[in-house]
Symmetry: C2
Subunit: 163 residues, 2 copies
Amino acid sequence: MSGSPEDTPWLDETELDAWVRLALLTLRLPLELDRQLQRDSGMTLMEYFVLSGLSETPDRCLRMSTLATLTGSQPPRMSQVVRRMESRGWVARRPDPQDGRSTLAALTDKGHRVLVAAAPEHVRTVRQLVLDPLTKAQVAQLAAIAGRIDTAIDPDYRLPPRR
Amino acid sequence: MSGSPEDTPWLDETELDAWVRLALLTLRLPLELDRQLQRDSGMTLMEYFVLSGLSETPDRCLRMSTLATLTGSQPPRMSQVVRRMESRGWVARRPDPQDGRSTLAALTDKGHRVLVAAAPEHVRTVRQLVLDPLTKAQVAQLAAIAGRIDTAIDPDYRLPPRR
DNA sequence: CAGTCAAACTTCACAGTGCAAGTAAGCGCA
DNA sequence: TGCGCTTACTTGCACTGTGAAGTTTGACTG
């Protein structure tokens, strides 16, 4: 852990601190949220995001690729997630009338009820683990910082339009 | 997405912004780092953490449970990770002479060489995705914020002693 | 109006992960 | 010393996620 090339200086103490803590966060936060959602509502964090994303559109309906972008995942994963959710009756898939290649995923009434039932406890957990430990100023700082990193990971990412 | 109980107020705009961006970050950052390490060095982020953790101890040797705590994971996972790494000759397992229940994982010379080879490019990627997009002040803010959240996830967590 | 290319999604095989149960070693106490 | 309890780790099973290949549909071009 000593040698490093000329063009990539090693991490100083503050940088190392920030990175180690962020790494630990990214390893454990999704696990905790998954556990809570699985235990209380029988769903994954990814599934929650899908339900949530669909519920916020006017017609409760999004293209698969939009859902994938929205959750930062890749098409094959979204395909399987939606398939599982369809088998539980939370969403319905149908071909896009405007583009035969696309598939639309639509939130069912059952899916909406499930989301409404799951949301309060999930929000409570997010508050407990993420927002409550921070000051108001830190919440704003976090939004700015995470936004910068998200852009660095994928400069093309935009919160996609609602169809 | 409308009803919420009395004791858990809904997220305001800044809070929602911070949470959505952090969620996206936790979903994608590990994937990007895993991809880079897998492509350039044939290892996982978790495996890098293990190599890195071992290399920083005086005798390049840690107990399994310490490794698990260090990386925020659980014993079964660490058991399999170290098993894989042992099969590649990067670490060696041996019983702890001081406590027959414990297993020690020791970094081999080969493992050390692999780590030294992998580190520069990995650090470069961490800089590119996490540190470079931030100002110096934001790096310090990130360390504080991530520390608070880590503590909220597990109040008992301490960076464990070096055996 | 073919023929070719690109896009959107799905399917499949494989590796990685989490949980629950199991095993082995130390500790405490009569 | 022998019994029970705790700790540390491992194993087995079910599930999820990833990447590569395949299929269908749309778009473009000569």
